[in-house]
């Protein structure tokens, strides 16, 4: 099981978390590459349908960050 | 047993943008398996299901004419899921075609030297183009009396098959009356106005040897019908092509029903008195 890399679908709010991710990238910080980022305008746009569809299509986890 | 759900594989051979706002495109399909074209022999007025694997199907009237061999043409308006996907496809893509489905215009009756008036509106001109080319074909032209066409669209840019319209305008064995709802184009040579009033002015008198084929948006059909009655067209000589939600296309899935008839199998072509006998559920 060691070489299995989880696929994490992450819904990042455009202003807060996406900004933080952008800042992390700009300042060359290393972080695991398992996350697949989906930019949403705000966590208000988040919907259980998205999380369920992500899991159903094969994601191993869903991370919503506002 | 032939599987009626299985589409014939086809390849998009050519795409021409018809309308100025790109909402209408004509697709030219070529069959991949050579035996399929004979099996797909069709009559003018029939429709077929355009099948995109993984997306769905959509019923579209066949725009090419039975006399044009080697390809099949469809003019598709971008409206739903399948048509939008189709509009994003490019030449060379492979997809499916199922048909020919439904009945066709009553050619046997009309080929007894009858006069034919064609009234078309908007993008419903596809099966009418197929009929016009079928009638103008040298082998068939003599079987008909005179042919009049009243074809209207919202604006000059929205007219379908512009080059062919100009060509037919020149011919003397067909009198074309092209109209647009409105235009600010100064050198617009043809009529301006809605189809019903233009039909009233330009269309020939009815009679028992005159047939009228009407295809277009419901609003146009509603206002053209009294005009045709005033011109003396009998109800069983006014022929219409109806539209309804369809899935199977050969009379089994039960959704396109209007009363006893099924639009996809007993139609889409109906005469007005057939329609008057069915509930207004289309």
């Amino acid at each position: 099981m060691s070489d299995w890399e989880p696929k994490i679908v992450s819904f990042l709010c455009n202003w807060c978390s996406y900004g933080a991710a952008d800042l992390a990238g700009v300042s060359r910080m290393q972080y695991p590459s398992n996350i697949r980022v989906i930019r949403i305008p705000c966590t208000g746009r988040m919907d259980p349908k998205f999380a369920l569809t992500a899991l159903r299509e094969g994601a191993d986890a869903v991370w919503v960050s506002g | 047993m032939q599987n009626p759900y299985l589409p014939y594989p086809v390849r998009i051979d050519d795409i021409t943008v018809e309308a100025v706002d790109k909402s209408l495109k004509t697709f030219k399909f070529v069959f991949l398996n050579d035996g399929d074209e004979e099996k797909f022999a069709y009559q003018a007025g029939q429709f077929a299901e355009l099948s995109i694997p993984g997306v769905g199907e959509t019923p579209i009237g066949i725009a090419s004419s039975p006399v044009e061999k080697g390809f099949v043409k469809f003019t598709v308006n971008r409206a739903g899921v399948v048509t939008t996907h189709l509009h994003n496809m490019k030449v060379g893509d492979v997809m499916g075609l199922r048909g020919p489905l439904g009945n066709w215009f009553p050619w046997e009756e009309m080929e007894a030297g009858k006069n034919v008036l064609i009234v078309g509106g908007g993008f419903a001109f596809t099966t009418l183009r197929s009929s016009i080319i079928y009638m103008l074909d040298p082998a068939n032209r003599s079987k008909f009396g005179n042919i009049d066409v009243v074809y209207g669209a919202r604006s000059p840019g929205m007219l379908l098959y512009k080059d062919e319209l100009v060509e037919w305008e020149k011919r003397d064995d067909i009198n074309m009356h092209i109209t647009v709802d409105a235009t600010d184009d100064p050198d617009w040579k043809y009529n301006v106005g809605f189809v019903p009033p233009i039909t009233e002015q330009k269309a020939p008198q009815g009679g028992d040897d005159a047939y009228a084929i009407v295809c277009g948006p419901p609003i146009m059909i509603k206002f053209t019908q009294p005009v045709l009655e005033k011109l003396g067209y009998a109800h069983d000589h006014i022929i219409m092509s109806l539209e309804n939600r369809m899935k199977c296309g050969f009379g089994m899935c039960g959704r396109c029903g209007i009363g006893k008839e099924l639009v996809c199998k007993d139609g889409p072509v109906f005469t007005l008195d057939q329609i008057n006998k069915t509930p207004r559920e289309y």
């Binding site: 349908k49 369920l52 569809t53 | 899921v81």
Partner: protein
């Protein structure tokens, strides 16, 4: 609830005669035992087909959505709470509806009775708290409390919370000790058992959407199930699609569901989908202290943000 029928006829007749309403929505006798059919009466004479007994489990608030005319509706406790939710969500205006309140002593569970009695049930009659079930060759008497629908057995809002007329004077509320015992039992299971439990629970589902359509809360013009641009879930019988449907349907009722039991009553294959909605009802009560549809001037919990909202799960 034996004497209610005549009182309802009298009130409905009066409302129609005085033209305060164009239509009265109530129940008429069904053609089968333990079944009543929702109906509308527009003339004073039509009123005497109205009836009320322990088989009126379908939620009549469902028939009020987007109505334009002035309407009277017969509402038991949970129905009245749904009418409050309807008014808060602007599905009907308060002055447009005359509410005939009915203090409800509970609806009987048709499925459970049919299961307990051998042979086909031919007639069911009731007294204040007994139910007599007649089959071809036997007659059994049940104590009404024993055969109530589960939601009626747990109900703590039997008297309507909002009404213009009252059919009888209020009845004492039940003090139910532990309303969510079955939910807690499921929560205590481990992940695999939970997954199998719901797999087994939802397997008979034939996606007829009776649960969605019987619920007054479900009034979207195009339900997420029917959306095609984009298409969120498959339309077939794949277990994941069935589960997604039930999950999201229940999710939409969070903080709005009054546990009237109409969904479970309408289901042809008897799925207890209320386990999902009552879990959400339990969470709303425990975390936000909110019960759906109790008062007209309080905004629902899911609709308003307070600084002290508990959010232990946010990192």
């Amino acid at each position: 609830m034996v004497g209610y029928t005549d009182k309802i006829k009298e009130i409905a007749g009066r409302l129609l005669k005085e033209c305060t309403v164009d239509m009265v929505i109530g129940f008429r006798k069904g053609t089968m035992p333990m079944m009543n059919e929702p109906c509308f009466a527009t003339t004073p004479e039509a009123v005497d087909s109205l009836v009320w007994d322990s088989n009126c489990g379908i939620n009549l608030a469902n028939y009020l959505t987007n109505r334009k005319e002035k309407v009277a509706v017969i509402a038991k406790g949970c129905d009245s709470r749904n009418i409050v939710t309807h008014i808060i969500e602007n599905k009907i205006k308060r002055d447009q509806v005359v509410i005939i309140g009915v203090p409800c002593t509970g609806m009987i569970d048709k499925r459970r009775i049919t299961d307990m009695v051998a042979g086909e049930i031919l007639d069911v009659s009731e007294t204040e708290n007994t139910i007599k079930v007649k089959t071809a060759d036997a007659e059994t008497l049940f104590d009404k409390a024993e055969v109530l629908q589960q939601n009626c057995a747990l109900c703590i809002h039997r008297n309507p919370v909002i009404f213009d007329e009252m059919v009888a004077d209020a009845i004492p509320e039940q003090d139910v000790v532990d309303r969510y015992a079955d939910i807690q039992k499921i929560e205590a299971m481990d992940i695999e058992d939970k997954w199998r439990f719901f797999d087994d629970l939802l397997r008979p589902c034939i996606r007829c959407y009776a649960c969605r359509n019987a619920c007054p809360l479900c009034y979207c013009p195009t339900c997420f199930v029917d959306e095609s641009k984009p298409q969120w879930m498959g339309k077939g019988q794949d277990p994941m699609d069935v589960r997604t449907f039930h999950f999201l349907r229940a999710y939409h009722c969070a903080g709005r569901c009054t546990d009237c039991g109409a969904c479970e009553r309408a289901c042809p294959v008897g799925i207890n989908m209320r386990l999902l909605t009552r879990k959400l009802e339990k969470d709303c009560q425990e975390e936000f202290g909110w019960e759906a549809g109790l008062s007209l001037d309080q905004r629902p919990a899911m609709d308003v943000y307070q600084a002290n909202d508990p959010e232990p799960f946010i990192k």
